[in-house]
C-alpha cells in the first residue's frame, strides 16, 4: 500500500494516515533535537518496539515530521529487580524493554537506580530527550549500528587529530583589530567564566590566544605526563600532528575498557569534541563543569565580551553538561567493580 510512503513526501500534517508502529517511533526520533547522529546511535524509542528489526528512515525523509502524539506516563511506580543477567527496571508490573524489544538489563545497581530515577521523574509526558542514561543503555544493549570494540575505539580516536584543546585559533588581522577564527565547538553558548578557579588566580587574559594557552596547556601537560605521550598543540589549520606512538598508547588504553564503557567514552568524545578532555574526565582529573567549560572556551570568552543569550547559550550549555555528565557517569558505572573491605572485624 503506497499510502504510508506518500505521507512522508507531503507536508503531512493534515493527513490522517495510520502509520505502522516503527515508523511512528522513527518520526518522533526525527523530531527531536540532535539530528541525524543521535538517530544512528541512540534510538529514542519508548516501549513501542516492534518485534521485527527497526527500519532505518528513508534517505529523503524530511527533518520536520508531523509530531507524533507524545507518550503519556502510563505507569505509577518504578522499581528495580535483579535478574540473572543483571538489574532490571519494572514500570508498574511490566519489565522495561529496549527499542529492539530486548530485556533491559544493566550490570550495575547504581546505574539501575539512576535509570529508574529518570523514568520516575517523567511527569505527564515521557520526554525521552531528558533520559540520557536510558538512551546510553539502550544503545549498548541494542547496538543498532553494530559497532564492535575496535570500531568504537577508532571512532573516538579520530577526534585526536582535531582535538579541541590542541588546536589554537587562527588569528586574522583585519583593519580594526584581530578577529579570531577558532576550531572546536562552533556552537555559541557559555556559562559564567570561572577562570580564576581553573588557572589558579591568573588575571583575566587579554586575548583568546592567551586564554587558551592558560587553560588548555595544563590539561595537555597532564595528559602527556599521565600517558607518557606527546600531544602538543598546533597553530596550523591542519591541527596537531599526533605521532603514531601516541595514538597506539591511547588506543591500547581505551581497549582496556569494556564495550559498554566504550559506548559511553565515544559519546562523551563526540560531545566535547576532544579526546584529551574525555580522558581527563574518566581519570577524575576534571569535573564535568570544567571539561565543558574548557571545551567551549572560545564561546565563553565571546560571551564574556558580548553578552549572554539565555535561550541559546544557556540552553546549549545545560544540554552539553547533561549529555557529558551522563556519558561520564555511564563510563564510571560500567567500568567499576566495588568490593567492601572491612578493616575491623565486624
Amino acid at each position: 500500500m503506497a499510502a504510508p510512503r506518500e505521507a512522508e513526501d507531503a507536508g503531512g500534517r493534515s493527513r490522517a494516515v495510520v502509520l505502522p508502529g516503527p515508523r511512528a517511533m522513527w518520526r518522533s526520533c526525527l523530531r527531536l533535537r540532535g539530528g541525524g547522529r543521535h538517530l544512528l546511535n541512540c534510538p529514542r524509542g519508548g516501549l513501542t518496539a516492534s518485534r521485527g528489526p527497526v527500519p532505518k528512515p528513508p534517505a529523503h525523509a524530511r527533518a520536520y515530521a508531523p509530531p507524533a502524539a507524545e507518550r503519556k506516563r502510563f505507569y505509577q511506580n518504578v522499581s528495580i529487580t535483579q535478574g540473572e543477567a543483571g538489574f532490571e527496571i519494572n514500570l508498574d508490573h511490566r519489565k522495561l524493554r529496549t527499542p529492539q524489544a530486548k530485556l533491559f538489563t544493566v550490570p550495575s545497581e547504581a546505574l539501575a537506580v539512576a535509570v529508574a530515577t529518570e523514568w520516575d521523574s517523567q511527569q505527564d509526558t515521557i520526554k525521552t530527550y531528558t533520559m540520557h542514561l536510558t538512551t546510553l543503555c539502550n544503545t549498548s544493549l541494542d547496538n543498532p549500528t553494530q559497532r564492535d570494540k575496535d570500531q568504537l575505539i577508532w571512532a573516538a580516536a579520530k577526534f585526536l587529530d582535531t582535538d579541541t584543546v590542541a588546536c589554537s585559533p587562527l588569528v586574522l588581522w583585519v583593519t580594526d583589530g584581530p578577529t579570531l577564527v577558532s576550531s572546536g565547538q562552533t556552537s555559541s553558548s557559555a556559562s559564567s567564566l570561572r577562570l580564576g578557579s581553573l588557572a589558579g588566580g591568573v588575571e583575566e587574559p587579554e586575548t583568546l590566544v592567551e586564554l587558551q594557552r592558560n587553560e588548555w596547556d595544563p590539561v595537555i601537560g597532564w595528559a602527556e605526563r599521565r600517558y607518557g605521550v606527546k600531544i602538543g598543540s598546533s597553530t596550523s589549520i591542519m591541527g596537531p600532528s599526533i605521532p603514531a606512538r601516541t595514538r597506539e598508547v591511547l588506543v591500547s588504553h581505551l581497549a582496556s575498557y569494556n564495550t559498554w564503557a566504550l559506548q559511553g567514552i565515544e559519546f562523551v568524545v563526540s560531545q566535547l569534541k576532544s579526546m584529551v578532555l574525555t580522558l581527563g574526565l574518566i581519570d577524575l582529573h576534571l569535573t564535568v563543569e570544567q571539561a565543558v567549560l574548557l571545551s567551549r572556551l572560545e564561546e565563553a570568552f565571546q560571551i564574556q565580551k558580548w553578552g549572554n543569550v539565555e535561550w541559546a547559550h544557556d540552553y546549549e550549555l545545560q544540554d552539553l553538561r547533561a549529555r557529558t555528565a551522563a556519558g561520564a557517569l555511564f563510563v564510571h558505572l560500567c567500568s567499576e567493580s566495588s568490593a567492601v573491605k572491612h578493616k575491623l572485624p565486624q
Binding site: A110, T117, Q123, T287, A325, A326, H332
Partner: protein
C-alpha cells in the same frame, strides 16, 4: 585539579535535586530508591582511616557527576519550557503581531461547511 568541593555540598545538592524531582509526584523523596541508595553509599564510604583515599574520591566524583546531570537536565527542561516550549502562534496572534485583526464573517466563508 578536580575542584570537587566538599562531600557535604555535593550531598546537599543531591538532596535538593531529589526533592525537586519528587515534588511533582507528591511522594516524599525519602522513599525513593535513589535516596536510599545514596544514603547507603555516602554512609558506607565516609569512614576511612587513610588520609588520601582514592576510592572515596572516586565515589565523590561520581556523586558530583550525578548531581551535575540532575541539575543540568532540570535547568535544560526549564529553559526549554520557557523559551522553546510554546509551540506555534495561532493565526489570530500572528495577525495581532503586525496590528491586523482577522475578519469576522458571520455567515462563514463560502466554501466552509
Amino acid at each position: 585539579m578536580a575542584a570537587l568541593g566538599s562531600p557535604l555540598r555535593t550531598w546537599r545538592g543531591l538532596l535538593r535535586e531529589l526533592r525537586y524531582l519528587n515534588a511533582a509526584t507528591g511522594r516524599p523523596y525519602r522513599h525513593t530508591a535513589a535516596y536510599r541508595y545514596l544514603v547507603k553509599a555516602f554512609r558506607a564510604h565516609r569512614v576511612t582511616s587513610e588520609k588520601l583515599c582514592r576510592a572515596q574520591h572516586e565515589l565523590h566524583f561520581q556523586a558530583a557527576t550525578y548531581l551535575c546531570l540532575l541539575r543540568s537536565i532540570r535547568e535544560h527542561v526549564a529553559l526549554h519550557q520557557e523559551f522553546h516550549g510554546k509551540g506555534e502562534r495561532s493565526v489570530e496572534e500572528s495577525a495581532g503581531l503586525v496590528g491586523l485583526k482577522l475578519p469576522q464573517q458571520p455567515g462563514g466563508k463560502g466554501w466552509e461547511p
